[in-house]
Symmetry: C2
Subunit: 400 residues, 2 copies
């Protein structure tokens, strides 16, 4: 019996890894605890200020509002940059569905800002191989989805002279495959000796793909881009659930003669139903998709967005909204760029002078504008542009 209770206690703890994100007791993810557990660093204000100073432009909303809240050695990237040393960005996506939702756009919007601000090259991995393995999808369907997703990614505005997008199915091989085996070799030696605890996170079947995801962290995986630049640092913007992959990668890096990749890590974009809810691909009402019409967006927000407002107008006027759990306010803090207006809404809504309906209406407008803009940009992405972004080619001006 005691054992059983132990197990229950364990199960109530929050679980965050590449395959599962579950808060404790149905509550919110405790990001402070996560930083402690993972051993990454909090992204504090002085670092944000430094980014502004070094790039000569205001920090992105996601940076100044703490959406990207943790990092590993991001300061080392900045130290190098200050001395004139460029780096490259690496991010990715598992193409398992045709339509992206807003949460999917977050890392790409932020990566576009980093590319523009630091003027650095970017590699984007589409892990169609892993999705093929774990979803009931054929190779061909995964490659089709990868191309469709590439259109959404390109629509975020990446610079074609600095960006290489690749599908694993197309690109794995050559130098990239050699790095996969080199990485696998390090990991296995660790595993056999039980020297390396983070590895225990990877199951038998995940193992090959952990290595596929690690390989782009090393410049030699891209000989057409970074030949002779083994000293180049890599910065990976990602959600914090990907941290275990890159802990493994950072452990391996020095043994293969590379810098450890740096990370800049975001919290999770919450479901409409609240931060305890999971955005589920099987429940289209848990998220706003970039394909949703203005009407659908308005309906989803009105019907499903969890409100921190009170049950009756009287009570709301008296107590105000609970901003901590309010999804419209949370979503606005991601996508309403005007700091003053956001503060105004929070003050008025928190004090009960503004009603949930008004906040939801403002959110619907903001998201409709965002989604319309994205959709127009995506419609302009041709098959030729996808081919151009995905061509294995040198990028002679990538550091300009």
């Amino acid at each position: 019996m005691e054992k059983r209770e132990d197990k229950q206690e364990e199960e109530q703890e929050q679980v965050v890894n590449p395959w599962e994100v579950t808060a404790k007791d149905g509550g919110k993810i405790d990001y402070d605890k996560l930083i402690d557990k993972f051993g990454c660093q909090r992204l504090e204000e002085p670092l944000v200020d430094r980014v502004q100073r070094l790039t000569g432009r205001p920090a992105h909303v996601f940076l100044r509002r703490g959406v990207f809240f943790a990092h590993r050695d991001f300061d080392e990237i900045l130290n190098g940059y200050e001395k004139g040393k460029k780096f490259y960005l690496y991010t990715g996506r598992g193409p398992s569905s045709e339509a992206l939702h807003l949460g999917h756009l977050v890392p790409f919007m932020f990566t576009k800002y980093l590319q523009d601000a630091f003027k650095v090259p970017l590699v984007i991995q589409l892990t169609d191989d892993e999705k093929c393995m774990w979803k009931n999808l054929s190779v061909e369907e995964c490659q089709r989805l990868a191309r469709e997703n590439a259109k959404d990614i390109i629509a975020c505005g990446f610079d074609i002279t600095k960006t290489f997008i690749f599908s694993d199915f197309d690109y794995v091989g050559g130098s990239f495959y050699k790095n996969m085996v080199r990485i696998a070799k390090c990991v296995t030696y660790n595993k056999v000796g039980f020297l390396w605890s983070p590895f225990s996170l990877f199951s038998t079947s995940e193992f090959p793909f952990a290595v596929v995801q690690a390989a782009p962290s090393f410049p030699s995986s891209f000989p057409h881009l970074f030949s002779g630049k083994d000293d180049l640092r890599c910065l990976i913007p990602c959600a914090i659930d990907q941290d275990p992959y890159f802990r493994m990668t950072r452990d391996v890096a020095p043994r293969l003669g590379y810098h450890k990749p740096s990370l800049i890590e975001s919290s999770f974009f919450p479901a409409l139903q609240g931060e305890t809810g999971k955005m589920s691909a099987s429940d289209p009402n848990s998220a706003i998709y970039v394909t949703d019409s203005a009407k659908v967006i308005k309906n989803k927000i009105n019907k499903y967005a969890f409100s921190g407002g009170q049950d009756s107008i009287e009570k709301h006027r008296e107590l105000g909204a609970n901003l901590e759990v309010d999804i419209p306010v949370k979503y606005l803090s991601f996508f309403l760029e005007d700091d003053a207006e956001l503060e105004h809404i929070k003050t008025e809504y928190g004090a009960g002078r503004m009603l949930t309906g008004e906040v939801k209406k403002r959110l619907a407008d903001v998201l409709t504008e965002l989604v319309d803009r994205h959709r127009a940009a995506r419609a302009a992405v041709t098959e030729e542009m996808v081919d151009a972004f995905m061509a294995v080619r040198p990028l002679p001006n990538m550091f300009d």
Copy 2:
């Protein structure tokens, strides 16, 4: 205690798989038991006769003397061939050492015969990736060894218009990688459901390479050779310890729309010290290498080749040699092509009229001639020839 005894009993059973070959109780490998356990078929005389009839040439020594003693669906290959349907051959080597020994040559000598007799294309996989993973060797060293081994393989006389040799490090990618993931997907689904018992043979870390070795069994892994020929059958000559890899492959094949690859399987080439001994890369005296001089060959045979002769000449004249355990006779049965002479030696030696020294001398002559011939052929293999065999190219006359 009882448990312990059980374990000992288990340990005494023979173990044959791609990673271990151990006879029961230090005796000989029981090939009949192996056929039963693996579920493959014995290669009987009628099948050998049929090969002779279909190819219009005498069966290879290895075939008529039972070195290749087992098969899976070899008869289906012949059924198709009889109706004018060609197939392709697939074999390979893990390049872990520079100098090959006679045992390494056996599958290649036999494959060359099959290519010549059936006039079919051949793909030869050099698994430098697997060797890099499991031996203390760098990627570069494994690729160097792969090229060196390719020279020995080319020296066996393969037809460049019908043969594609590839290093995994160079070739894995594209269609080949897609097939790897397709295969992995089938295997994993089986594994999860515990439906598929042979999988249990593959440990966590072997898993990716089982898939790398399976992929060449499907024609679509070679689009430059077999585009639009998904219906082409594959015949794999190999030692029987590789059977578990291809049981897995055969299980997966129909689910991916391919024929199950057929196998033709050999017994193990014994160590000089006897069939109970293991040919060990760490003991150069356990094998004859293709780099050994006439003098070294003579000395190794005289000093180490396990004799079935009696302790004294008197006893030998009286009892004769025990041919069952005699290594010189065993080696002659592999490499002395003249059936009449071999029979004569066995009769005379078995009756005690011929002495061990005489048999060993004949063996030294046979092997010296073989090794000299190989060495001369290898010396004629240029780097350009290696490049030509390993070029990813169509083979327009491969079925002529």
